[in-house]
Symmetry: C2
Subunit: 234 residues, 2 copies
Amino acid sequence: MASKNLSKDIEKIAPSTMADVVETRLREYLKRKAFKPGDALPKELELAEALDVSRNVVREALSRLRMLGMIESRKKRGMVLAEPDILGGFERVMDPLILDQNTLQDLFELRLVLEMGLADVLYTRMTDKDLKELEQIVGKEINKVQKPFKVKYEIAFHGKLYQMTGNETFMRFQNMLLPVFEYVVSEEAKINGEAKVGKVTHRDLLELLKTGGPEDFRQGMKEHLSPHFERMKR
Amino acid sequence: MASKNLSKDIEKIAPSTMADVVETRLREYLKRKAFKPGDALPKELELAEALDVSRNVVREALSRLRMLGMIESRKKRGMVLAEPDILGGFERVMDPLILDQNTLQDLFELRLVLEMGLADVLYTRMTDKDLKELEQIVGKEINKVQKPFKVKYEIAFHGKLYQMTGNETFMRFQNMLLPVFEYVVSEEAKINGEAKVGKVTHRDLLELLKTGGPEDFRQGMKEHLSPHFERMKR
DNA sequence: TTCATCATTATGTAGGACAAAATAAAAATA
DNA sequence: TATTTTTATTTTGTCCTACATAATGATGAA
């Protein structure tokens, strides 16, 4: 299949610098030696000597790992392996304005998939307290037809759903996808006019949560998101 | 709610270094000035001077952005903003052995959600060729009961499903989640014994794809993954 | 024994130097 | 004049040295 995005298919000619090499070497080393969080790493100078590069290069590589949260370092005590922040790297590059169109589209779809798959986890974890909070959100939402308000409650409602899964990573993830989602929708609106709204409202979804089962909720959600699904088909 | 994971709730005391500051400053700068891919960045020395730090520090920060694919640089030509690799940062930290237990669990659930949400995109995009390939995979799978083979075809089948979505990001994402999934399952097996298999097989799922609709497929998938869902409830 | 002081050590930051590559400018050739 | 070759320049990549800083351990004084 001839892909639309060449740069994804053909590997970029990367004039790999020493820092690049050292970075992967270090990661390999940590993996091979089965380093665990808390373990102390060799000193910068030792690494530099062992790899036969300058301390400078080692530091550039370490700086990268430090950004990802893989290592922490304090003066004199040296560096220790840490539990990385799984979404940190994601967060930093999640900017609709610099991502290419295909990736944006991919992420848009990803969120749709997440919403559709949410039901089962939701029914496993949700509490009465959650439902009450959701009730409040829906309650405040009525009669808000202006754009900024609509968006605000859209985020509040769906955000609460993710929160109800009790899955922290999940929630952060969706929060990061939000700007992308909004961007894609608004861009689309510029071309094809304002998107229609699905027949199923937030209140309907809440009602389904209270009285229905996962399947009912999922069908409701599908209807709620139907304009976006329509868009996807093109 | 008292969380199980303290380090996620309380912000880590981060003795932020110059490189940290410069990194965020740079990202802010790029965003504020609405840099687009292809635009040339100021020279290292100019940045160093403007920020009043050594070129060394600037380079450490730039090295981070370079790792994320946000910038590319060539000698003499300087640096240009590039389209970052959205999953690059993810890929680098996706190691079951260094991620904490909660995050692993979160990612495990994330994959379950993805599988459940897959159906609609799948029915929108799948081709006859896809189904034939899936047929082949299922065909080779029969009579393979030994562990390593089972895992292999498990990956092949589900991997193909993701590929059928035509969503590159999606596919890469699931590929990265695989090691986590396997790890969690095998760890679980050590404690509670080998997990049972769902009643719905890959062949059944394929049949559903051919003859049924999204809802049927989803129900099948839910059954197929039911042992994992059971595990989740605890 | 306890507290204060000092020495040591590893990371963090600064600055200078030069190599290498890519470009622009200048010179030489057809 | 047009084109190729050579030279100069510029910017990143790498190395080195030096010192500040903070945490640790050792030493010595009360």
